[in-house]
Symmetry: C2
């Protein structure tokens, strides 16, 4: 990635705009930061903080999470195994579209199955897909219980709840592992931003 000063008017494009053209114009590289972890681990919180830090620096970003995906694109999907699978597949495809547009997109979904995450990694290819494991112990997440979901899961009101009555398959090749139990949101976010700088996705 070019280390020249950021400029938005230097690109001369012949016919079709390529991904490289978009990245040159924006002064960044498109990538999907795929946050995965238990409910309450801090996925959204850290993603939102990274988004804030990067946007303040002039980086084009977006966050995909339950709020804007489950009520829109995936409003036709429920929580059966097939629907959960399709949910993650579509998010992966949308993330790919953002990545190809040169945007840094942060997805924050529990996405408990390794197979689903690996499929999305494969769709995008290495380098375009960065897995961020938000690694907080179940006991910590349950104690936080931000949304009161663990209580309902323990009471059997919510069936097949990840970590309680359904498995969470921890990543075995995450590019970034965040310990949100031991560090602040700002520290976790800084770790992600440092990775993006080191790997040349954003300028230092």
């Amino acid at each position: 990635m070019s280390q020249q000063p950021k400029s938005k008017n230097i690109t001369k494009i012949s016919t079709h705009v390529t991904r490289q053209d978009r990245e040159n114009m924006l002064g960044q590289k498109g990538v999907t930061l795929w946050f995965t972890g238990l409910s309450g681990s801090g996925k959204s919180t850290v993603a939102i903080e990274v988004d804030r830090v990067l946007t303040e620096r002039g980086v084009a970003c977006t966050v995909l999470d339950g709020d804007n995906v489950r009520h829109g694109l995936n409003s036709d999907l429920g929580f059966s195994p097939e629907d959960r699978n399709e949910n993650i597949r579509r998010i992966g495809e949308v993330a790919k579209l953002f990545t190809e547009a040169g945007v840094i997109n942060l997805t924050a979904f529990i996405s408990p199955y390794r197979e689903d995450r690996d499929r999305n990694r494969k769709i995008q290819g290495n380098g375009d897909f960065v897995e961020v494991f938000v690694d907080a112990p179940l006991a910590v997440c349950e104690a936080r219980d931000t949304k009161g979901l663990y209580k309902k899961a323990r009471a059997g009101i919510i069936p097949e709840f990840t970590g309680i009555s359904a498995p969470y398959e921890a990543p075995d090749k995450a590019e970034i592992v965040l310990n949100t139990d031991g560090e602040s949101v700002e520290q976790s976010a800084a770790q992600v931003v440092a990775y993006l700088e080191e790997q040349g996705y954003v300028k230092q």
Copy 2:
């Protein structure tokens, strides 16, 4: 929209990044340019030219078309009425995500049914959805027959082909109408860009 000089580092954001923050940072307003028209009318060609002109000017854009949607997000969909409907619905939802990210996104799909287009307009709200009617006569599109599809449709090899054996419902409230029979690709694209400038989506 602010007419101040474009700057990518002036935004101070408290917690969540808002759409307004993203637009301020990018110096543009997010919008969906929904191109609709017969096969061969020039939807993709004009959208690609608008994308080129805007990207050269430093505007963050993307194009959604059959190439990147039918093979990815909507690869599970066929051509039944239900699947066509779902195809357009999903594209509308993805367009909304790009719009909310502050990006100018251009969609190029025949999208023959008024109801489908109006639904997507409603999902986004007026101002975020700009319908671009690429208005070329059927005879002209058929004479161009860029992809050889009209020939196959006339021979009955492709059933339910828009304009031949399936209806095309022309927009009755398109914000922009392009006459690609009477004007060049560059002229059509300039008309779209002029609209975006006049309405304050991009700076002049």
